[in-house]
Symmetry: C2
Subunit: 278 residues, 2 copies
């Protein structure tokens, strides 16, 4: 088998011909899509994968220097697209994978049809008028916690960012994902994530995209979703009823509905809570 | 996506790096592997597909002339192998797919590591001393039944070839597979199957193979399994306890065990009922 498909533990499932590629975020793997993926299997060809260093990927292929930036992770996306000869991909990225997908789409625009960002942020650090939600000390503290006690940190943070106290098993599920990641890989991925600044990239995007912004997200405040919406051509913003950084886990039905509406070009939602226009 | 992967409804699942490709037989599709496939997902990368004309394949790609011979079906196997860059494949073919896999392996020996034949026959027609189990009139009668009343024929034959009266739902499952195939495609596939003569190919095979012969099989009598065993270099023969033409459906545990023993090079079985030597 093409070594890329093994390296990134690529799975292809589903009955359709339109490809949807699901890209997991920091500390997770393809298993994090399990709450929504079945809704797409009847009509789409679904491509799942784990970034090198995550899930069941081939850890021997992990390269510290390559994966010190989001461009390294974007290489994984491009490699998989090339190995499978994908075209017109609908790319769904969670969290940091939103910007990884954008980087990949700027490199190979012909491979992508639409991008969907779930809880995206083009820059986590505040910068003048720009509110990313974190200042430099916050981020250094996070790095220190990950470096000194990754398991303790992930336990502490899982419930907060899941933000779904009525279903504590979801925070447990997230924590288990975090725990399965090698701490040194997690630290390097966190550094690549929190140090990135993708704001200049947004303006260059030439394909339609959707920002799914949860109503309250500790990792990506409303300001980051709005910034993406205002600065990305042909971007649609939906502010979801869901709270937390993982709406595809905590509110799968709403997430599925919004994705299907966007894929099916039903851009104007009847839900008055939504800000939904390009 | 590479059009081949859509055309043949290719699925890739499982966690390992060694590839196992499962190839369904006449009137079936990849769903026919569902009783055994889960046993391989932890340790192998499993490739499933539907031949053009079967299952959820792209019927618009069906070419009467191409699929009038097993060589046409072998093209599907080779196309998928090339699209995915497969190497060292363990190919498991059921029924006519055993010989389809052999044809593919003679064309691209470097792509294959081992072949496993479930209920194979190199030639269904009797020929002098050779006992394939069918004479020319039998086969013409089958073609007439398929042509005039495919549903009636498949209903009549499903229980007989499944040969598992204690679980009538298995014959029903098989019948549903048959019913989902276009009758004209089924007739052409039956003709390609019953008219083939692969006996000369056997001697040319250069990779190890396993013949899983069920104890009583209306489609492939013991003589066909023995013929393959005697005429194929490095072929191992197991006569299973299972009866019927679908041991992977009617006796999944025994089938899984024999496949795993062969893959794991445990060639000599402790089961005294087995004839198990090269």
């Amino acid at each position: 088998m093409h070594s890329i498909l093994i390296r990134n533990n690529v799975k292809i499932i589903g009955e359709g011909s339109q490809v949807i590629m699901f890209a997991h975020g920091f500390g997770c793997d393809q298993n994090s899509w399990k709450f929504i993926v079945n809704a797409f299997l009847e009509d789409y060809k679904v491509v799942l994968f784990d970034y090198v260093g995550s899930g069941e990927s081939d850890l021997s292929q992990y390269d510290k220097r390559k994966y010190a930036t989001l461009e390294g992770y974007a290489c994984d996306v491009i490699d998989i697209i090339e190995a499978l000869g994908l075209k017109d991909v609908i790319f769904i990225g969670h969290s940091v994978s939103s910007m990884i997908g954008m980087i990949a789409a700027l490199q190979q625009p012909e491979a992508f049809k639409k991008l969907i960002f779930i809880g995206p942020s083009p820059r986590y650090l505040n910068d003048g008028d720009y509110i990313g939600g974190f200042n430099a000390e916050d981020i250094e503290t996070i790095f220190e916690h990950i470096a000194s006690d990754y398991l303790g940190w992930s336990k502490a943070i899982a419930a907060v960012i899941m933000d779904k106290p009525s279903q504590p098993e979801l925070a447990d599920f997230l924590q288990e994902c975090f725990e399965s990641t090698e701490p040194s890989v997690a630290l390097a991925f966190a550094m690549a994530t929190f140090k990135t600044d993708c704001r200049d990239n947004l303006r260059k995007l030439k394909i339609p995209s959707l920002t799914l912004q949860s109503a309250r997200d500790m990792m990506a405040p409303l300001t980051t979703g709005e910034y993406i919406h205002k600065n990305t051509p042909d971007n649609f913003l939906v502010v979801m009823k869901a709270t937390g950084h993982f709406p595809h886990i905590s509110e799968p039905e709403e997430t599925i509905r919004e994705i299907k509406d966007f894929i099916g070009n039903k851009r104007l939602s009847s839900n008055p809570d939504h800000q939904y226009a390009s």
